[in-house]
């Protein structure tokens, strides 16, 4: 009995799996240009902001977003990846620029937005620089949802008590850190989980933007002597006591408020968190663009992070999603969004509510600054995962950087070998 049944069960299981597999594919585009658009995002905390924007989009474009927010980024990634295999692929969803977006574009899963970009750039709604992050093989995909510049936030009270000014050179920044340490105040925030990369990014790009880009493309090895030297600088700073306790679980915004550290290197979305912690923009805290490590650089490199809004190629709401994307780029939409979210706007014609962010936006788009992709988006995911872990381990136990760099490079070697 037994031996005859097992193949039967396997055959049944295989039959069911074939049946399930054949369900995949995706729906037909229904061609609607108005109505309710299903929108998925991993920024669950922003859901009220998207809802707030509905009033504007209803009157401008007759489209209402039905937002589903995920709060776990990994779970969200897996959900989106799987959704392309079903007829429920999203009409609009948020994603990451860099290799993760390239992966989707390569599989022809994303609707092209070249026309939307051409119109937006021609109307002066977006800087052509930003277009590069959304261009693959000369065509554009997705539109920018948000943009953030990575700057240094500081506790204004501490700076005033110590008689400190915003630094304009790297040497001045170092002097500030040294003075604060002497007074028993920890200069910088750091953590050994997830956000372990900002200081590395700052040191490498600020020393040599070419070197930084080389890491992202695989032309420069993590074990390169120039990288080792930068890591040694980082270690020396750690040994001098310039960084906060890596194991602390205090919320970074609260830490800055209570003076656990004087400065924190974060994206310009951090205003929202600091306001939430009860600090007043311009009064309790302020920000400055971090000077380049290498004073000979003509332009100061500034890390920029931008998250895309994408439309799935096989979604039944493809036309609706693209119509919304087009509206999204307009100054009306971006003014309303900036007000709802309290963030920097990528559209220079939009009005930004927070004067500090308004000023930052105009400063960094000027000629003295050079925007580069944040490490998190610039680095291929498998290398990024290992690098974040290794930087975390290095932050926890600053020492000889070589073993950490070798571990990252081993993963990078594997990755680039696979790409050939």
């Amino acid at each position: 009995m037994r031996s005859r049944k097992i193949p039967l069960v396997i055959a049944a299981a295989a039959g069911v799996s074939l049946l399930l597999a054949s369900c995949g594919g995706g729906g037909e585009d229904d061609g609607a240009t108005t109505g309710t658009l299903d929108f998925y995002t991993n920024k669950a905390a922003w859901e009220p902001d998207f809802d707030e924007l509905n009033a504007q989009s209803e009157s401008d474009a007759e489209i209402t977003l039905n937002t589903t927010g995920y709060s776990d980024a990994d779970q969200y990634d897996a959900f989106i990846r799987q959704s392309f295999r079903t007829d429920k692929s999203p009409g609009l969803f948020t994603w990451q620029t860099g290799p993760s977006l390239a992966e989707l574009v390569e599989e022809d899963l994303i609707a092209e937005t070249t026309d939307i970009w051409t119109k937006a750039v021609d109307s002066g709604w977006v800087s052509p620089d930003l277009r590069d992050s959304y261009t693959f093989d000369g065509k554009q995909y997705c539109v920018p949802m948000n943009i953030a510049y990575w700057v240094m936030y500081y506790n204004k009270n501490i700076f005033e008590e110590q008689g400190l000014e915003e630094p304009t050179t790297w040497a001045e920044l170092d002097a500030i850190a040294a003075q604060l340490t002497e007074e028993g105040i920890t200069p910088y925030y750091q953590t050994s989980t997830l956000f372990t990369f900002p200081w590395f990014q700052q040191l490498v790009a600020g020393t040599d933007p070419e070197l930084y880009n080389g890491l992202a493309t695989g032309e420069v090895k993590y074990t390169d002597p120039r990288i080792v030297e930068i890591m040694e600088t980082w270690r020396d700073q750690a040994e001098a006591g310039w960084f906060s306790d890596a194991g602390s679980t205090v919320d970074p915004a609260v830490g800055l408020k209570q003076g656990d550290y004087a400065m924190i290197n974060f994206g310009s979305f951090f205003n929202g968190s600091l306001d939430g912690a009860g600090m007043v923009s311009g009064e309790d805290y302020d920000m400055f663009v971090i000077p380049a490590v290498n004073p000979e650089l003509e332009q100061t490199p500034v890390a920029v992070e931008s998250g895309p809004l994408c439309v799935a190629e096989n979604s039944s709401q493809k036309t609706l999603g693209l119509t919304y994307s087009e509206w999204w780029m307009s100054p009306e939409a971006q003014t309303a969004w900036s007000e709802a979210r309290g963030d920097v706007a990528f559209n220079p014609q939009a009005t930004v509510a927070d004067p500090m962010l308004e000023e930052l936006g105009t400063t960094v788009t000027g000629g003295d600054y050079q925007l580069y992709d944040r490490y998190y988006e610039a680095t291929p995911t498998p290398i990024l995962t290992v690098a974040l872990e290794q930087f975390g381990a290095f932050i926890a136990n600053p020492g000889d950087p070589m073993p950490y760099l070798e571990t990252i490079q081993a993963e990078a070697d594997d990755y680039w070998a696979d790409q050939e």
Binding site: M1, V9, I10, A12, A13, V16, S17, D74, Q75, D77, A78, R81, Q82, F84, E103, L104, E107, L109, S192, T193, L194, D245, A246, G247, S248, T249, V250, T381, P382, T385, E389, Q390, G392, A393, I395, A396, N397, Y404, T407
Partner: protein, 301 residues
């Protein structure tokens, strides 16, 4: 099957009239089991032999994922951490649980002594992780409490390995002692009175009573508790994810975390599935070997 052959063979020519309808009735359950239990297992095994990023189609690469897995020195670290979890949860939550049960089972009001241990069991593992990371984080509640006693130079609980794994096992114990104590108490209360009285008449008390009477008679229950503990510790995930996320670096990563990271963070579904298959085999082999050895009749009292 052999025992019920005789009655059905009484009329060898006559077919069982209910044969097809019986199959019809069991078909839905067989299908549900096949789709929900066997199919995912087969699918995961298949994916583990492919390169797959969750998009497009899996590409067959043979055992390459397994080679890559065993080649990774950090994977060995994961295996060792997982072993530490197995041993640690046997010694601490199971051991203390047994202790609590032994000390309270025949006391008047023993229930009230055991009850507080059960309260943390109502929490989810992630919740326990978050709470304990506030206690054990740098400058957290424990450090502050120690500072009040003048101990300033505290260890970095969650940063240094293997200390971080050890303190996480203790956090698990905080949650798990109550349930183990409860199970052992049930076991102790189900021991018949006669042999106990006989042993007491013979003058056995304390350790001697425990070693020669209670422990052997508890064995069936111990086997289940230890078996469950081994399986639970092999798949440890939530507490670690809640407290250190496997870090710093991969110092406190367990196999379940490695599986999760490869699959859902790196989108290397093939490699993640290979870790899953490895973990399944280890868990199966461990439970079969253990239960077979423990539940065999030679240990009967």
């Amino acid at each position: 099957m052999t025992s019920d052959k005789t009655p059905t063979r009484r009329f060898p020519k006559e077919r069982d009239p209910y044969r097809w309808s019986a199959r019809g009735f069991i078909a839905p359950s067989v299908l549900v089991v096949a789709v929900l239990l066997y199919l995912p297992l087969l699918w995961t095994t298949f994916i583990s032999f492919t390169e797959y990023n969750g998009l497009g189609d899996p590409e067959w690469i043979g055992v390459e994922n397994y080679v890559e897995m065993f080649d990774d020195p950090e994977f060995l670290g994961s295996v060792l951490n997982t072993l530490l979890w197995v041993v640690g949860t046997l010694i601490v939550p199971v051991g203390i649980g047994l202790g609590v049960a032994l000390l309270t089972w025949n006391l008047a009001g023993g229930t009230w002594l055991r009850l507080p241990f059960l309260i943390p069991y109502a929490l989810s593992g992630i919740g326990v992780g978050v709470i304990w990371s506030f206690i054990l984080g740098g400058g957290g509640a424990l450090d502050q409490a120690l500072a009040a006693f003048g101990i300033a130079d505290t260890p970095r609980w969650l940063v240094d390995a293997p200390l971080n794994t050890v303190v996480m096992i203790l956090a698990t114990a905080w949650q798990g002692v109550g349930v183990n104590a409860l199970l052992f108490t049930i076991g102790l209360q189900s021991i018949p009175k006669e042999p106990l009285e006989a042993a007491r008449m013979d003058g056995a008390t304390g350790l001697r009573l425990f070693r020669s009477v209670l422990w052997p008679m508890l064995r069936p229950l111990t086997a289940v508790v230890v078996g469950l503990s081994i399986v639970a510790s092999l798949k440890t995930f939530d507490i670690v994810q809640g407290m250190t996320k496997g870090g710093p670096g991969r110092d406190s990563e367990t196999l379940a975390l490695t599986m999760y990271k490869e699959t859902f963070v790196n989108s290397e579904y093939g490699l993640g599935s290979a870790v899953a298959v490895f973990l399944t085999i280890v868990t199966l082999v461990a439970s079969i070997l253990y239960l077979r050895q423990q539940l065999s009749s030679k240990h009967g009292v």
